[in-house]
Symmetry: C2
């Protein structure tokens, strides 16, 4: 009897570097060890009360919504964007099931199978998975820890251009690097994309999380109507990662028509989560001020503590809530695994994400990790102490 076979996608589909060490963490916890999770961007910040309250008002029948999202939500979202200098209306907005689906639908609609996307690396590792789903190839442009992971010169992008290049994907403010691209360097990218008929798919889910600067949206640039695609999500903004609501925002209405076809196939995004996301738009400014203040304190604290550790390289992140950190080890993944399986301090340990999986170029980032500073400073102190003590022991083994 012939056996069933798996998709060829199995060979190119990577395991999540953020979640792949999870079994080791699970085992440690089973042994009664407390694990500090710096590996994943799951904030401990409370979801805004207006959003929580909106879940209490459920209709008698939880019905399908429109494929493009609930109208009143799209109207109010447009207002939110206009308030942050992004001049759009509801016809430019397509609501998705999280930012994840927004990226998948953008790739499916903007690129044909076999086409290429250029992405500055290290990048949010799940872009790889979305590229596999859409049958497109990721072509990396390398950014470096020494340069604070800033956008490389346009000449680097030019080198990677091929007849199959259809889009550039950026994350700004950046996961996993914490970099925030300046308006000037984005202008260069915009000019390059316009000149070559490329889309720029800009993942801006960390818009509200900047510390010494403001983030510039891809939709703030003129003469870029057809090229600019903004990816957004409620997950981080409202500390509501489990509510799966995101959106695509673009002035390219032809593209949105194709996105709608994909959207109709999957019917609609979660109705109740959308209702809550609409309510979340009424979150008072004071919430964001406090959250930003809290993250700034954590960032400064983590930066300071990490900088003290001999051999550690850490650029000051300007946005999001991640830092990419160079460690004095050869294989940061082995170190991360060892922390979970072998190292305990007061019966506690720390989980981090090895950064190698965030690079597309084989061999890069092997001594780097990503930290999400999503814990309060008291826990951050303990978690970073564990890294420091762990490094001492690991390097003396």
């Amino acid at each position: 009897m012939p056996k069933t076979t798996l998709s060829s996608r199995n060979e190119i589909m990577q395991e999540s570097p953020i979640r792949k060490l999870a079994p080791y963490a699970f085992k440690a916890k089973k042994e009664g060890v407390h694990v500090y999770h710096l590996n994943i961007g799951q904030p401990d910040i409370a979801t805004p009360q207006v959003m929580i309250d909106a879940y209490h008002n459920i209709p008698p029948v939880i019905e399908y919504g429109p494929s493009e999202g609930i109208y009143s939500y799209r109207l109010k979202l447009a207002e939110y964007y206009r308030n942050v200098n992004i001049n759009v209306d509801e016809s430019n907005i397509f609501v998705t099931t999280g930012g994840s689906e927004a990226i998948i639908f953008s790739l499916l609609s903007a690129l044909s199978p076999g086409d290429e996307i250029i992405i500055p690396e290290p990048f949010y590792t799940n872009y790889n998975g979305f590229a596999v789903m859409a049958g497109v190839k990721v072509v990396p442009v390398t950014t470096t820890i020494e340069n604070g992971f800033d956008l490389p010169p346009i000449s680097e992008f030019e080198k990677m251009l091929s007849p199959k290049t259809k889009a550039i994907v950026i994350c700004n403010p950046g996961n996993p690097t914490g970099a925030v691209f300046s308006r000037e360097s984005l202008q260069g990218l915009v000019d390059f994309a316009r000149k070559n008929g490329l889309y720029v798919i800009s993942d801006e889910v960390y818009r509200e999380f900047t510390y010494d600067c403001k983030a510039t949206s891809i939709l703030e640039f003129d003469d870029f109507e057809d090229n600019g695609i903004l990816i957004d999500s409620t997950s981080k903004r409202y500390s509501a990662c489990g509510s799966r609501v995101g959106c695509i925002v673009t002035r390219n209405t032809e593209l949105l028509k194709l996105v709608l076809k994909f959207g109709q196939a999957r019917l609609c995004p979660p109705s109740v989560d959308q209702q809550a996301a609409e309510a979340a738009l009424d979150t008072p400014d004071s919430y964001f001020e406090e959250v930003q203040k809290e993250y700034r304190i954590r960032r400064d604290f983590a930066y300071e503590e990490l900088s003290k550790i001999p051999g550690v390289v850490v650029p000051m992140p300007k946005g999001a809530f991640y830092m990419a950190v160079g460690l004095p080890v050869d294989d940061a993944e082995d170190f991360a695994r060892w922390l979970l399986s072998d190292f305990r301090h007061n019966n506690e340990t720390t989980m981090v994400a090895p950064l190698a999986g965030f690079y597309a170029t084989e061999g890069l980032g092997s001594n780097e990790i990503r930290l999400a500073y999503v814990l309060n400073t008291s826990d951050l102190k303990k978690a970073i102490d564990i890294i420091r003590l762990g490094l001492e022991k690991y390097n003396s083994l």
Copy 2:
């Protein structure tokens, strides 16, 4: 300047035949006309109270859940399946964002780009969209209204077999046909699939909606561990279409490992909806008894009313809440559009889904429509009267 281009998928991606007439309905409503929606499977049945109540208990932070679904939910789901004669445990269950994502992930994992799936037509039209997303080709096997849309003999499947065939997709009980496949005919399909190393992806979201028989699950067959993939969803079972929770159930653990990689990329299904779906598993049997009773009344009523209309062909559906109906017109899509744009009875009209879009073979089903009997009998009567009067007028134009 070169312009951005759309994906080649635009040419093969169909507009939803269920939703494509929506602008005409929208216009009619704007003119103050009441529209009876028989075009979409959005039931008017109340969502179970235990499920609604579960939305009232929101944690202070709406966090990511595990990519494979919340553990306690998977445990309890396994119990549900064992109660309906499907012997699985939580390790066989992967929770998805609706049944839609369950099908997409199954196709992405079971088939390589360019592979083929055989589907009895007419079929749930969104399978087309999922096939485009996964880059696979739909090969139809035709079932007929005269034969009550029953499974064709295996020889028909054999004719469609190619080296690229990797799976058969069925919907049982059937959308859009209302057909329920007998255990014997499924056994034939299972033997055929086993002999040829094919998956059978069985969409069983209407399991609870059968009227003169019981539905047989693909996972009830022995010696079919690697081949059987069950697709499920809470949408119809609990009349909660807007809560996007579904699942893949299979004993093929290698396949599930690949599904997990896709699942990790999109992080997790909606957390709060899962919590509600878990609570929904406590829905009392009396709820389903009443719902089934109500749908049976509607089915019998709609069948009787439609049968009275001269020239109408309507096989008695055995399950789900759809009927495929042959009309005495050449172009049922034109008729459906005309009902919305031109025909009024007491300032009301009816919206139906043209069935041609549910066939993959060009030209088939052009005189057929799908009706969802999701309204109470009093509304159903008015909606079907409009079809009857509409046909009289349309055919005299």
